[in-house]
Amino acid sequence: MGIVKLRKNFHQSKWDEPIIFELSTENERGIHVPPVERDIEESSGNLETLIPESIRRKQPPSLPEVAQLRVLRHYIRLSQEVLGVDVNIDIGQGTCTMKYSPKINEVLVRSRKVTEIHPLQPEDTVQGALEIIYNLDHILREISGFSRFVFQPGGGSQALYTMASIVYRYHQVKGNTHKDEIITTLLSHPSDAATAKVKGFKVIDIPPDQETGLPDMDAFREAISERTAGMIICNPEDTEIFNPHIKEMTSIIHEVGGICAYDQANANGLLGIVRSIDLGFDLGFYNLHKTFSSPHGCGGPGLGAVGVIKELESFLPIPVVDYDESGKKYYLNFDLPNTIGKVREFYGSFPVILRAYAWVRVLGEEGLREVAKVSIINNNYVMKKILNEVKGASISFPKTEYRVSQVRYSFKKLADEAGVTVEDVIRRITDFGFHLWTSHHPWIVPEPFTIEPTESYSKDDLDEYVEGLKTITQEAYENPERVKNAPFNSVIHKIQDMSFFEDPEKWAPTWRVYLRKHRNQEVRK
């Protein structure tokens, strides 16, 4: 028995820090770039002649003008206003697989052998890097049963977009112009639908059966037609109920000439246990961040590795890494006749590939299977504990007893009984230094939250986390206002009016958009 200590005195740094654009002062500089030395200019030519005219700016970009010390303070402050992957138990990030990223892998990616190579270097000079990419491709082939992987997409949604693009291109090449519909399920990740829509498909969502939580098979059969181009789904879905009908579903899609794409963002509990190809999928992706231990997208660059069956290899984005037997060297193969082109520059974020490669090599085949098993056991342990000990919590679709590696829970009972909603609990949980739950819209399950303990966390960690939930829900019943007005110790605060959040016309993804929409100012590009 170790130490289970809920850190009730957690206190996060909070700086009233403006955003970097607001710190800008005209002509202030962080660094003065020295002029090009005459010798260099003479040998390489004038800078302006080196950049093609078509991409030369007419005027300088509107970047913030800030002195070095101010920049330093600004970003150090921001860095203190995070929950921090190494200080919190982040099993409740939402639908994201959070796990420990071994520090030794950070040593590897910070090696000069990695930091000082460039994707435009001649192949002969980066043979080692290409070999690692090539080897990881083969390892993922073993895990999934697919014929080839590419590493170009920079994250899960970009991998989904890549898959939608392959489905689109496949039917284009086949002349199937009538096939314009993609099937997905309401409990698959929202990006499955979103990326297919961006590609121009109409998306048909299959609702869950109210009893089992599995995709409603009657609705599924009704949705399939000659117009079905393919299916892009998760299995297990976000509820983590493994779908026993999955082979039937993939074969129904195949019968009408559709393609089955597998969103394997929830693969942690399946590693070494279930192969994608055996379920009838034609392509799929793994997140090397998250599942393969590279840090999660918001904490480091992501990578969605897309794998396909033999028949779809020629549609992959270019280049892919191949090995030339005669010349005994690795090379970039751009010669894929049906390629969808590029979804991102170059051929994948190499540090992410390297971390994943190191992680798999350390674990080996048995180790990978162990990852899956421990994550499933951890998950079902936490589930039982929550159901027994956390008042007001329940699981979605309770008739299905076991889950793979995460559970979608509901605080509906808590909301009904104590008037404290899941959003209140989310804010309160940050007061204990735990990660908050995200990514649950639309709310198919009322007052939803998702916990995925993965293999990284010890029993003590899991107990501590559940202790946190118990403390909060107990507080909700005894002193609901405390939870409703939270947080008190966190950097975030309660927002009174959330309506702007749901109105696309008010969304401001960039500073320039913010100025235009909210301050009525136009800023040059």
Binding site: I204, T421, N489, Q496
Partner: protein, 392 residues
């Protein structure tokens, strides 16, 4: 820091408290009584008497009290304008509120006209929110009096509650009012006022009409038919649906558009005339019929290729037969039956049904059966949800 944050919040939550806020309160003392003894409503004193004979007891005052107790944090910040006695005065005074009685009950017994007069007077007095306890009948009376001029929240207490202006319960109504009055909720939504069409009902036809819309402070957790966040607002969702429909329209088809804000967003986006409550027909992107009855619809569409665009009305998922009876069995058959029907619905509207199917009740059992089954409901731009329709 913790204490500091708490005091900040308190300050923020009380920041609106300097000026006394004026609230209207209307309690329909007989609401709901008929239903408890199996009658179809409580419209009229003969029914009340019948209900009382059958053992019905008034319950609206009790529900008003539950709501007003939740409003107590604002005790010192609000003044309640109401009608005498059991229409609000008694209960508001009992709980210690500052109360002004603004009129008197005309005649011997409380009537719909008293409700209308009270509501009108409340807007004149400058009330910024009207809270009422009642059902569809009371809702209609308030709608007749105030329209969209002032926000309203209902405590559900009636027999018929097809309207979508009610909080999910008395306490939720109080909480929603607190949030709205403290500026924590700013969004107001136009929500359906529906009631049984009494004229038809007396002739033996059960027909629910869409009477109009009231402005309701909107928070998903508090309003009936509005508790499932989807990530985007109803308006943004309706616009996305409209863009999809418009993109897929063809010039050879007549489009019948049923009542409702979701269907009419299509016409709004196209910048053509429309009737919010009625049935309109669109052909080649022009409105060729406005607020039509069954006969007019048939005259326009007979022999033409036709599609019917409809959306569930109110909080119960009725797709046909409630609020859009003009789209009659003849109209549906003439358009080509099930395959001519395009259902549009915001994701929130669907989620609020918690898995319950959409319902059809066209008064033609055979047709209802034919219309049942799975549909691809348009729920967004390039997005369809498979959803079941059953007959009611």
């Amino acid at each position: 820091m913790g204490a500091h944050m708490e005091s900040l919040f308190e300050k923020a939550s009380q920041s609106g408290g300097e000026k006394i806020k004026k609230i209207g309160l209307i309690v329909n003392p007989i609401a709901g009584m008929g239903g408890r003894v199996g009658l179809k409503g409580t419209d009229g004193w003969d029914i009340v008497e019948k209900a009382m004979k059958l053992g019905a007891k008034p319950w609206s005052e009790e529900r008003a009290e539950r709501m007003l107790r939740t409003l107590l944090p604002l005790l010192k910040e609000i003044k309640i304008f109401t009608y005498p006695g059991e229409m609000g005065e008694n209960i508001a005074k009992k709980l210690g509120y500052d109360v002004e009685v603004i009129g008197k009950i005309e005649g011997e017994r409380i009537s719909a006209e008293d409700t209308r007069r009270a509501a009108r007077e409340m807007t004149r007095k400058g009330c910024e929110l009207i809270l009422f306890v009642g059902g569809d009948g009371t809702t209609r009376d308030i709608y007749d009096a105030v329209g969209l001029s002032v926000p309203v929240i209902g405590v559900p207490a009636g027999v018929k509650m097809y309207s979508a202006v009610f909080a999910t319960g008395p306490e939720r109504c109080g909480e929603l009012a607190v949030k709205y009055l403290r500026g924590m909720i700013k969004e107001l939504q136009e929500r359906e006022v529906m009631d049984i069409d009494e004229e038809k009902y007396r002739n033996g036809i059960f027909a629910v009409r869409l009477y109009g819309y009231l402005m309701v402070p909107y928070d998903k957790r508090y309003v009936i038919g509005g508790k499932s966040p989807t990530g985007i607002s109803e308006k943004a969702n309706q616009e996305a649906i409209a863009v999809d429909i418009i993109e897929n329209m063809d010039d050879e088809t007549y489009y019948i558009l049923g009542p409702g804000t979701t269907t009419k967003m299509i016409l709004k986006k196209m910048e053509v005339r429309y009737s919010l409550l009625g049935v309109d027909i669109l052909y080649r992107r022009k409105v060729v019929g406005l607020d039509l009855n069954e006969r007019d619809i048939l005259r326009i569409i007979t022999g033409k290729r036709t599609k019917i665009i409809i959306s569930p009305l109110g909080g119960q998922g009725y797709l046909l037969g409630r609020g859009n009876q003009q789209i009659s069995p003849s109209v549906i058959m003439s358009s080509g039956g099930k395959k001519s029907i395009i259902i549009v619905a915001t994701q929130q509207k669907i989620l609020n049904l918690e898995g319950k199917p959409f319902l059809v009740d066209t008064n033609d059992p055979l047709l209802d059966r034919q219309l049942s089954g799975w549909y691809r409901v348009i729920t967004g731009y390039r997005e369809r949800w498979m959803y079941r329709v059953e007959y009611g």
